[in-house]
Symmetry: D2
Subunit: 234 residues, 4 copies
């Protein structure tokens, strides 16, 4: 995995992120994803709160998303107080033509999945490079540190090749916001994401894997600044 | 749930616990479960270490099991250093005639499951009152606090009635050794434990449920001090 | 420690709890403590929100306090979004004539201390039985599990006799909302609480101790339903 | 903070790391620090275990140190089972002429401090670039996420300038092995490290700071491969 870049301006990410913010209206409770594309959504929502009096509540998916939302001036609530969200908007590492996505490059996919499944509508924002006919990227899997060896063995039995994600700014492995490890698992081309999702969930010590099969709509940002939307096929 | 009693002497628990300790021999790495019955196993292993020179390494499943094992003088290792155990011995809250068990009354079932699945042989020790033709007790489910409302909703969709376990010696809910909540879920008679296990695992925010389908052998202690052993039917 | 009782109605706790709620007015951000006395404050604030249109934001100190506040209909925020509170109201296990308090019977004192120190005014509510000329109750100390033995040794060097708090509804020790242990430390009569506080904080592995020296005002509920207020001596 | 480099061979780190391993003999329980210099110690101890039959038990200070020790073939134990260590060996980010050290660049200083204070002798290994007449580097401070704003305010009151450490391989802040945040605090020249240590410990929400005043002996590796040892002045 290469270093995650959230600093450089990206017209396609910006286009997708801002377009999806247009789905939000006053009175909504909004799930706020994590990563560089949805960061544009959060900033745009904050702009509308300040400039247009948009009245919303946000639910964050990570410490990063919390910090961005607070900077943007979005009032936050929690799933405990507002268990049902009107919409959740988030990025993805890869998404296929049937809107199955791989997430977790930012190690935030556990809370992201919980938030997205608490929403009536789940929208993914991404630049064109994230779309693919099939899912081929490594799948991030959050595991309890205690279960590392067992999870590695069971994942290998499923045909995956797991690699413990190492940190750069601390010694040893990356630790998630929940205090756990991330395995980045190479599966080659994932032919049946729904089946793999169930198999991964059944492994003891797996907290959550990065396969998402609950995307309702995809906003793809292009280099010319246009946005293509793809609804889920019923 | 009534208060867990680990203090009173119980001849049937003692009989089962000590009998299972007989399966352990020098050179083994042994998974040490949590609870009042396997506590007899741990004490007996400690006695054999001291009096008979039994040379084993233990892997604990909880802070309780760690403290008991250290008191008993059993040298401990970890799954990181010894990922494959020769045997794991643990209790159960209920176990049916096909050796499917419900565990988690002690809130330790996540590590217990990881340890038991890391063992080549998993033996459950229990008194007669724990055996049942079918599983009818509430199923403890460890969940991320962040996912409480979502998990409750999804579990209700499966036909369960979840109740957040409250603590007695602290305010608010019981917190597990992993920092999470426990839902005790009433399902009535569980007709297909294997299927329910998969459904529970697939819920985001569920860390681990208390249904165990990997028991190899059951040691049942009776009031007359005798022990009946039941191997898994192939 | 005896079982914590939050179910029985107590006129003196009720009197103190409700009186302190009178310090809260619209526009305030309010720290909401944990325990049976401040539970009356939370319920009263909720009543005023519903019946009188009181417009406040709450910051909770525990999962218990969060659940009560949500049930009461108090909108919640976080210290991240609102780092400075107008007031914090909380209970105490014991409080002396100079308003030094022992807290932590509910194992929530770490977050309680952080919240109370984030408030411009910190008010303690208690029934008469909690007041004392000197602090003599055991001091709860939250410690990292990893540091248990070191903390016990260092605390004994300070003249304390620590006892690991055991759970009732789970096997093994009580785990705090932060995932740690509680030592209940008997010090006899604590002659210099401020000095002891510094000594305890300096021990590696001590997350937070239950000595509070930042109480601004005490509301004492009496059996006749009257309330005595005691301001801090400057 | 620049990226931590543990991959390139360094003759001075190697010299110090290997020399300190010479202090270890059979029968000892040894605290194993974290970082690139003590990694040489761990590898050398592993070599002696395999080639010379050295019979020791290790206690690790981080997931990194655990993985290295297991790879090296060192049998591990825990502070719970062996609360008193014969020696602990660890690196440092900076160390002054009175053997006061700053640690925590690897975000492991909380467990490192607990381990070092559990040892009868604490030896620091470092290359020459780490020595300094005075401590001037930023001090890493591990804090509870819940206490971020309070800790920042209190640290600023002490004259420090804190900066939340950001992660590279996950979105948002670095999370420690204990699930917490790291503030890197610029204090300029630290004139009285012992006093600052007490002040930092007293801040609620501070889990542990990176100032170590318990070093017994320093092993300095030089570019020519020689090692200078500096005992603590009594």
């Amino acid at each position: 995995m290469t270093e995650r870049n959230t600093s450089t301006d990206s017209p396609e990410k910006r286009a997708a992120g801002i377009a999806a913010a247009g789905l939000v209206s006053s009175g909504m409770v909004v799930g706020l994803g994590t990563g560089s594309t949805v960061a544009y959504t959060i900033k745009e929502l904050g702009r509308r709160v300040k400039e247009e009096g948009l009245d919303i509540l946000g639910v964050v998916t990570s410490y990063q998303s919390e910090m961005l939302a607070i900077d943007a001036g979005i009032r936050l609530t929690t799933l405990s107080q507002n268990p049902e969200l009107d919409i959740a908007i988030d990025g993805a590492d890869q998404i296929d033509s049937e809107l199955r996505a791989i997430k977790g490059g930012g190690a935030a996919h556990t809370r992201e999945k919980i938030v997205s499944m608490s929403a009536r509508r789940f929208v993914v924002v991404a630049d064109e490079s994230k779309t693919s006919t099939q899912l081929v990227k490594p799948v991030p899997v959050e595991i309890l540190p205690f279960a590392k060896e067992l999870a590695i063995n069971k994942i290998r039995n499923l045909g995956g090749e797991p690699k413990l994600r190492s940190a750069v700014k601390k010694d040893g492995p990356v630790i998630t916001d929940n205090g756990n490890f991330i395995l980045d698992v190479e599966f080659g081309t994932i032919k049946d994401p729904e089946a793999l999702a169930l198999q991964l969930s059944a492994i003891p010590g797996v907290v959550e894997h990065g396969i998402f099969c609950n995307v309702d709509e995809l906003y793809i940002g292009k280099k010319d600044g246009s946005v293509k939307t793809v609804p889920r096929q019923k």
